[in-house]
């Protein structure tokens, strides 16, 4: 296949980061390369408890196709997941379970709160429902909607990709991050 033929297909490559280019070499920051690799291979861990989960099923399926963003593989074990997607109402009894799942994810890990319930408790302003998962785990991206459309979930994932791309490789060892985890009582 010649080069021009490849260009005709709609395969979208990741953009080349800023760097120093010369004849036969390319130099850039380690942060950028690691960020680029991480952002384009975020393996999701779906934590679907209600209707937002149904929307996520559509997001995973062929029409919306989350695989386009490098999230082909759904991970149902936290050990190989990077991105925890919490979709649905989290009851207070569910909170410790969610927390345990988050804690057992391998570093680095990111969290998206999908939908009103996960973000703030939504319409369930009641004694039994956790008023937003950020009460128990740190959240990186909030996706509004009740439930959000698959496009919105994809937008949330793209926002997270931006965060991941710009994250320093040393962030997880920084005192700020340790303080953040300590504020959630996660060691």
């Amino acid at each position: 296949m010649s080069n021009s033929e490849i260009k005709k297909t709609d395969i979208k490559m990741a953009e080349t980061p800023e760097g120093y280019e010369g004849n036969g070499f390319f130099a850039t920051k380690l942060d950028t390369v690691v960020g680029l690799a991480r952002a384009n291979s975020l393996w999701p861990l779906p934590f679907a408890t209600s209707c937002c989960g149904i929307e996520f099923m559509a997001t995973m399926a062929s029409h919306y196709d989350v695989a386009r963003f490098g999230s082909e593989r759904m991970s149902f074990s936290p050990r190989q997941a990077d991105m925890l997607l919490v979709m649905g109402t989290i009851a207070k009894k569910m909170a410790p379970i969610l927390r345990q799942v988050y804690e057992q994810m391998s570093e680095p890990r990111w969290v998206i709160a999908v939908g009103a319930c996960a973000s703030s408790g939504g319409i369930f302003d009641t004694y039994s429902v956790l008023q937003g998962i950020d009460k128990v785990i740190p959240v990186d991206v909030y996706v509004p909607g009740c439930p959000p459309r698959p496009e919105q979930i994809l937008d949330g994932i793209m926002k997270l990709q931006d965060i991941v791309k710009n994250e320093s490789v040393r962030r997880r060892n920084s005192p700020e991050y340790k303080e953040l985890l300590a504020s959630y009582n996660i060691s």
């Binding site: 570093e107 680095p108 997880r172 060691s187």
Partner: protein
């Protein structure tokens, strides 16, 4: 063509490079990747629920004998299918041969019954 041991040097280099690349990437990613260990994190993953008891307990493998016997007699049945298709062509000779074959297995079957191999309790 004459070859001597020095000619294999590039292959050795390639092997070292291949093994070295694997070892180096594992080591470097181990070194670069952030890590965190805690009591909760290193627990077995049980879908977030507190695990109860120990997984290392002895349990009966009675089904093992049943499974092996099933495979044995299953194979016998598989042999009977081609025989059934070629029943006319093989004639009396085939019938006798299959008879001997099945007789041997039936003796085995009665042996299993006598040894109480199929009794579950």
């Amino acid at each position: 063509m004459e070859t001597n041991q020095v000619d294999f040097f590039p292959i050795v280099m390639q092997l070292i490079l291949a093994a070295g690349f694997v070892a180096a990437t594992i080591a470097i990613s181990n070194f670069l990747g952030p890590k965190r260990h805690s009591v909760n994190k290193d627990k077995n993953f049980e879908c977030g629920i507190e695990s109860v008891g120990n997984a290392r307990i002895p349990f009966s493998v009675k089904y093992f004998l049943v499974a092996i016997l099933f495979v044995l007699f299953d194979v016998e049945v598989i042999f009977m299918y081609p025989w059934a298709i070629n029943f006319r062509e093989m004639g009396l000779e085939g019938f006798l041969k299959m008879g001997i074959f099945m007789l041997l297995l039936i003796v085995g079957f009665f042996y299993v019954m006598k040894k109480k191999g199929l009794e579950w309790e």
